[in-house]
């Protein structure tokens, strides 16, 4: 009997498709083998730098404070760093002016002062409008309609120079590296990499609270609640003016409540949520017609039924499917995701606003910080395992984020000591320092005799107790003039009420004081030259005597003129004065965003209670090395790493570098 069967074209395409891939891979393999002799010959003619060490590993612990480190070493809680200090080197490390991470890490990477790398603060400004902007990158839309991000940090990281000379280089999580720069090594972006919504990290929290509200650090949204489920809509990125969203459902039963769990249904998949515990990273694909935008987020279900509360971390770019590159080469973030699983890509991934706004508890915030830290440990140790020669650097942020949130004022503060700290909260920081020390121990264990390890921080830390609203001071002293208030607005942020035709000086960001200079600012009124110089001298004199009415003490330790402390082609856009606050003081929250109303002095009542935006002499960083370091021209400074490491590979440091090389003594 004859049986007729029909085989559709789909099966044929499937067979042929996989066959073509197989043939393609085979041909590529043959090509690689055939070209091998030529590549060997070419490599013989490439002038490779010879390294004194097999590997140079530099670990950054953002914000590690030398005083605390010393105390913990003395009390036996940091034995590994203590061993490094005893057998090698431990000292304070000079930071930049101002000692703020984007500025400091840019100087570490490039070996130059801010006047040559153009990062003077977290914020710069649009000279046409004076609106504050992120200083590290610019997002523009090209003529063809595509959106492009551009890195504004100038000069070159020293590992680019090493890679040019054939040294294998990996730079993980170096701040101010988004978008990633092309070079002959590998890099993973960090601080200032945006989230999927284009913000610097915006959480979402869903609850039964009826009103929707947008708060400083996140979105608070309602859910439709019934007996056994909650329905909500998670906002995603905006595409062509439309916000993409993902509807979701959280389901529970009496049995699952008893077992402290529920089920999340989102983007076509179900995930188990344990009440009170973070979910793993969940892949979220937002769709609009043929366009797909890929993100990841973690969910924390804090309560169900009548107490429903669901926290969602900022939507991170998916490292395994980056719609915007977060690494160089682009495939590197994908490779790391294959090695260690999904991981946070957001620049400042630890959700400090979640804690500040009471959405997260202290424990939940700390757990999030530790989880992110462990991801970075995994990517670092994998890179260390795979990279047998060359240069490897990685920056860990947990020390910085924990100190920002836990250098707390005691509940019943001693009024005679404004910098007093809450011991319970402080112990959380000590534990994190000890955790970092334990990690350093594991690194030391994996290094060989011909490997060099250096550990550094970009700045130290201090308490942030009092806010100084410099724009209010400028207003009160006649340097800044307001116009009639815009009735539509409740606030004066972003210089909304400033009359630029009568304003000579203004402030924003975390350290700078700017002149409204003719020829630079679009509405500038101060003439460069004598008028500007006299104004700077006048400001210096008046600000130097600024006293806190609560204590009567002077609040500024040093005032720096950028024209005197910076050199390089970009210094003309820097603030004219950089304020070196005494410990305990900082630019107020209002001044930071260009607000102009309110009082000059106020208490900092925010949960963000530790800071480093003070005089650089108040908050030096740390430097550890597993060998002795001999410095010559000045005590160790962040700018010295570039020439020091280049010399280890017998590369003459370029003339534009500002740092001075150290001798590494065996």
């Amino acid at each position: 009997m004859t049986v007729l069967a029909y085989i559709g074209p789909g099966a044929g395409f499937a067979v042929m498709g996989s066959f073509l891939i197989f043939i393609g891979a085979l041909l590529l393999g043959v090509l690689i083998l055939l070209s091998l002799p030529f590549r060997v010959v070419v490599s013989l003619f490439i002038k490779r730098a010879k390294g004194r060490f097999k590997r140079v590993v530099i670990i950054g612990l953002d914000g590690m404070e030398p005083g605390r480190a010393k105390r913990l070493m003395e009390t036996g809680r940091m034995p590994n760093l203590k061993a490094m200090a005893e057998c090698g080197h431990f000292s304070k490390l000079g930071s930049t002016c101002p000692p703020i991470s984007p500025v400091a890490w840019s100087t570490f990477a490039t070996g130059v002062n801010p006047g040559k790398h153009q990062i003077f603060d977290f914020l710069s400004r649009d000279l046409n409008t004076c609106l504050p902007l992120l200083s590290s990158s610019r997002i523009t839309t090209t003529g063809s309609g595509t959106t492009e991000a551009r890195l504004l940090r100038k000069s070159r990281p020293f590992w680019h120079l090493l890679a040019d000379r054939g040294v294998s280089c990996t730079a993980l999580r170096m701040p101010i590296s988004f978008p990633p720069e092309p070079y002959k090594g590998r890099a993973l972006s960090a601080m200032c990499t945006p989230d999927l919504r284009g913000t610097q990290g915006e959480f979402t929290v869903f609850s039964t609270t009826p009103e929707s509200a947008k708060t400083t650090g996140g979105k608070r949204l309602p859910v439709n609640l019934n007996e056994s489920s909650a329905l909500g809509v998670l906002p995603g990125p905006t595409l062509d003016g439309n916000e993409l969203v993902l509807p979701f459902q959280v389901r529970w039963t009496e049995k699952t409540i008893a077992e402290q769990r529920a089920t999340l249904r989102i983007a076509g998949r179900s995930h188990r949520l344990e009440i009170g515990r973070y979910s793993p990273w969940i892949e979220l694909t937002f769709r609009k017609r043929r366009t797909r935008v890929h993100g990841i987020a973690r969910f924390l279900l804090k309560g169900v039924a009548g107490n429903f509360l669901l926290y969602v971390t900022p939507l991170n770019l998916n490292p395994a499917h980056p719609d915007m590159p977060v690494s160089w080469p682009k495939s590197f973030s994908i490779y790391l995701a294959k090695l260690i699983g999904s991981y946070a890509t957001l620049g400042l991934a630890e959700d400090t606003w979640g804690l500040s706004e009471g959405v997260l508890t202290d424990d939940e915030f700390e757990t999030q910080c530790v989880d992110i830290h462990l991801e970075r440990e995994r990517m670092f140790f994998e890179s260390l395992r795979l990279q047998r020669r060359g240069f490897l650097t990685c920056v860990f942020d947990i020390t910085d984020r924990m100190q920002h949130m836990f250098i707390r004022r005691p509940e019943n503060p001693d009024t005679s000591n404004p910098l007093a700290i809450d011991r319970t909260a402080d112990e959380r920081i000590n534990k994190i320092y000890a955790r970092c020390d334990e990690m350093i121990g594991r690194v030391l264990h994996k290094l060989g005799r011909r490997d060099l390890l250096m550990v550094l921080s970009d700045h130290g830390f201090t308490a942030f107790r009092r806010c100084v609203h410099l724009n209010a001071w400028l207003r009160e002293n006649g340097y800044l003039t307001e116009k009639a208030q815009d009735r539509k607005r409740k606030d004066s942020d972003y210089f909304a009420n400033v009359d630029w035709s009568r304003t000579r000086v203004y402030c924003f960001g975390l350290a700078g004081v700017y002149l409204n200079l003719k020829g630079r600012e679009a509405h500038g009124i101060v003439n460069p030259g004598t008028e500007a110089e006299n104004l700077i001298a006048e400001l210096r004199e008046k600000l130097s005597g600024l006293r806190d009415p609560a204590s009567g003490e002077k609040v500024i330790r040093n005032l720096y003129e950028s024209s005197k402390i910076y050199s390089g082609a970009y210094k003309s856009t820097a603030p004219e004065l950089i304020v070196g606050w005494k410990s305990g003081y900082r630019h107020s929250w209002e001044t930071a965003v260009g607000a102009t109303d309110g009082a000059v002095f106020s208490d900092n009542t925010d949960k963000w209670c530790g800071d480093h935006c003070v005089d650089r002499l108040e908050v030096p960083g740390v430097l550890f090395c597993n060998r002795r370091i001999k410095w010559h021209e000045h005590p160790p400074h962040l700018a010295d790493f570039a020439p020091t490491v280049l010399k280890l590979w017998q590369i003459t440091p370029p003339r534009y570098l500002d740092g001075a090389p150290w001798d590494i003594v065996d």
Partner: protein, 63 residues
Amino acid sequence: MFEPKIRINKALYELVEQKADEEGYSSIDEYVTHILEKAVADAGENASEEEIRERLRGLGYLK
């Protein structure tokens, strides 16, 4: 990798190279880019206040 390139005269290139070195730039590319940025007044991105607020939202240092 596939960024546009500009062709210039060799003598001019050498002058530019010398100037870049004197001014403390890390490369000729950086120097030329800076000059061009200034020439086209690339000071801002013409973003609205609301767009700027959105981009800065979530930065712990700012409220």
